[in-house]
């Protein structure tokens, strides 16, 4: 071992200094990895769009361990990366520790609020977007039974479910909503097999449209729904293309826009609390060539009308996280 250490020491002397100072922005993905076809991938797409349009470069890292959350934040900050964007609520604790040590660096955290002068906290009104796809689900359903499959059972996902249920009830007050969560741990974000089983169980209870708000688990939900001949609704990214003609729509949560904006604002970024809702295009439903035949003009008009009302404040959708309860759905 001593020999080994000598050898290592010798190479250390020759070594490059890592992390030459750059003003490039940086993006940190959560443990789920960047190609999850959903949340992290949306963040990546936003960063890529920024790189393509400006010709800039950005740093990125997919984490391997919990200890790396703080490590990645500090390393990027020390190397001069600015702003640093992190995708996911799990960074809140680490960012709360780190932000004060680097007052000149701007941070953006998505899906969570961290109260510090150099942090922008981006949260989405997922309940509003979910309300719209809930309306569409109720209009498309023939059995008057629709399903919801969540990922990990956390308040954020209940917020999705509650908005969805309100949309369904707004169209058809007698409709039945079957809601299931995949699990109680982060593993629930990436369990397509369980997603598939839950979909089958919901179909046996009569559901003919299912909405998956479950990250990578949703891939299994959409697949099973397509195989069994019922409609499904995707989440976060536009997932209509995954099963053309069998995905009713996708609830778009424009994480990509949040990342793109943060990167574009650069070091002059305005910090504070930023809500992305229907009013500013932060959420919405996806309409493209893959689902054009599934969404008749009457459905589109009704949903667009509701969307305008929500955006203008005329129609209020209850936010589960405001009081930890949902008037139309029990968990």
């Amino acid at each position: 071992m001593t020999l080994m250490q000598k050898f290592l020491g010798a190479s250390a002397a020759l070594a490059l200094t890592a992390g030459v100072a750059t003003a490039d922005p940086a993006l940190i993905f959560d443990l789920g990895g960047k190609f999850d076809k959903s949340f992290n991938e949306a963040a990546f797409n936003g960063a890529k769009r920024w790189a393509d349009t400006t010709g800039g470069t950005f740093r990125e890292i997919e984490l391997q361990s919990e200890a790396q959350r703080e490590q990645a934040l500090r390393r990027f900050a020390e190397a001069g990366a600015n702003p640093i964007v992190m995708a996911g609520f799990a960074f809140a604790d680490a960012l709360g520790q780190v932000a004060a040590d680097y007052p000149d660096t701007k941070f953006t955290i998505i899906d969570m609020v961290v109260d510090a002068p150099n942090v922008r906290s981006v949260v989405f009104n997922e309940h509003e977007g979910s309300y719209l796809v809930g309306m569409m689900a109720a209009m498309a359903s023939e059995s008057d039974t629709v399903g919801f499959i969540g990922g990990m059972d956390i308040p954020l996902i209940r917020k999705f479910a509650c908005g969805y249920a309100q949309g369904v009830k707004a169209v058809n007050a007698d409709a039945t909503i079957v809601a299931n969560m995949t699990g109680t741990t982060p593993a629930a974000w990436n369990d397509p097999v369980k997603g598939s089983e839950l979909t089958k169980a919901q179909i046996s209870q009569g559901a003919d449209v299912v909405y998956a708000a479950a990250g990578g688990t949703g891939v299994g939900v959409l697949q099973t729904a397509a195989d069994e001949g019922i409609l499904s609704i995707g989440v976060d990214s536009n997932q209509n293309y995954l099963h053309s003609g069998k995905v009713l729509t996708s609830m778009m949560k424009r994480v990509d826009n949040a990342v793109y904006e943060a990167f574009s604002d650069g070091v002059d970024m305005e910090t504070g609390f930023q809500v992305m809702g229907l009013a500013n295009g932060g959420v919405g439903y996806a309409l493209d060539e893959h689902n054009a035949d599934l969404v008749p003009a009457s459905m589109r008009n009704a949903v667009d009308e509701a969307s305008d009302k929500i955006a203008s404040g005329e129609l209020a959708v209850h936010d589960y996280m405001s009081d930890d309860s949902c008037p139309v759905l029990d968990f």
């Binding site: 020999l3 070594a15 490059l16 992390g19 740093r59 919990e66 990645a72 390393r75 020390e78 954020l156």
Partner: protein, 371 residues
């Protein structure tokens, strides 16, 4: 008696294994179009080139020392404890309960209580497989593996349903109070005028790990109990004939092993995160197996192997930060080192033994091998 001299056994075998792993890793890096020399330089400078790098390397190494010692003690008793992962998870639960529910005036007292709490929980988790092995002959490898899954489920349940603060989305406990904050190496070394990186998570647990190494050495080679453990490990029948109780030794060895694995939580839960998160252990229990095998179950070997693996972890993180080498490939590189040092030990050992045999045969029979 031994085919190889001692120095060759402890230096040549691991070094050649490492070299082979390094060559294969270089080929892998070449295959994806990156420069292996630059990658090695980046790993070395990132993990050992600054007090910051050392801070992370030693942090990971502290984890691996505890789990490596745990596996090593069990191996001396002829038991293969694969449950370090689960025992460390439960140890984390012990530390969290100690830190959250008792108001400690100072970290020095809290850390002693945390040592007891984590070791107790880890040992309890090892006790059931040990009892099943000793009394019922249920194979310890199978039961300890199974207990890893049960530990994950237990931790899951307690974090989600009991310890999670209201309204939080993360399945994690709240932050431990400020009073139980363990001093980091930065804080420990500052009074001596040594400037150690403030950001790195290495903390006073490193000292506890080194003390544990010494105590394990004393236990195994300098106490009657250690002699009993080793004789039971070498030959169960002979040990039984000598009046050494199989049930007693199995239970004691596994309790010590589980306790050591549980104590890892002082470092990662109390020292680094200062709260209990769901995946706090992150495979350190399994790395401990490789560390113990590479360190030949000797505390000094475990210490050095743990630092090597700490280097691999921290160097790997640096690669992920500054190159486009995907993280899956970094896992491949780490796995190659584990494969060569742990699993393919005989591939290096047998040719080496043949060389030494040939050397010995060529010498005159009268001169004994000069070392």
């Amino acid at each position: 008696m031994d085919v190889m001299p001692k120095w060759a056994e402890v230096t040549l075998v691991p070094l050649i294994s490492l070299l082979l792993a390094a060559i294969l890793s270089a080929l892998v890096i070449l295959a994806i179009g990156e420069d292996p020399v630059a990658a090695v330089k980046l790993m070395v400078s990132g993990a050992l080139g600054s007090t910051y790098g050392w801070g992370y390397t030693l942090y990971y190494a502290t984890n691996f020392m505890f789990t490596g010692l745990a596996v090593a003690v069990a191996i001396h008793a002829g038991l293969f404890n694969i449950g370090g992962e689960g025992q460390a998870m439960l140890g984390g639960l012990g530390v969290a309960l100690v830190c959250l529910f008792i108001p400690w005036p100072h970290w020095t007292i809290a850390v002693l209580a945390a040592v007891v709490g984590s070791a107790l929980f880890g040992a309890l988790w090892a006790a059931i497989p040990a009892y099943l092995q000793a009394k019922r002959g249920s194979h310890i490898v199978i039961t300890t593996i199974m207990f890893n899954f049960i530990a994950a489920a237990v931790l899951n349940y307690t974090l989600v349903n009991v310890l999670r603060p209201a309204g939080s989305m993360d399945p994690a406990t709240e932050r431990f109070p400020e009073a139980v904050h363990l001093p980091s190496l930065h804080e420990l070394l500052a009074p001596f005028g040594i400037a150690f990186s403030k950001a790195a998570p290495a903390n006073v647990s490193l000292v506890i790990a080194v003390i544990a190494c010494v105590l394990v050495w004393l236990l195994i080679w300098r106490t009657p109990l250690g002699l009993e453990i080793r004789s039971y490990g070498k030959s169960q029948r002979a040990a039984r004939y000598a009046g050494i109780g199989a049930v007693r030794i199995t239970m004691i060895a596994m309790l010590i092993s589980g306790g050591l694995a549980g104590m890892m939580a002082i470092n990662n839960v109390m020292g680094e995160a200062e709260r209990l998160v769901l995946n706090a252990v992150e495979g350190a229990g399994f790395i401990g197996i490789a560390v113990a095998l590479m360190g030949r179950s000797h505390p000094v070997g475990v210490f050095l192997a743990a630092i090597l693996f700490g280097f691999l972890y921290q160097g790997g993180a640096e690669l992920a930060l500054w190159t486009s080498i995907p993280r899956e490939l970094i896992v491949v590189i780490q796995a190659l080192v584990i494969l060569f040092t742990g699993a393919l030990d005989n591939m290096v050992r047998m040719p080496l033994e043949r060389i030494f045999l040939a050397l010995r045969a060529s010498r005159s029979p009268k001169s004994t091998a000069a070392e």
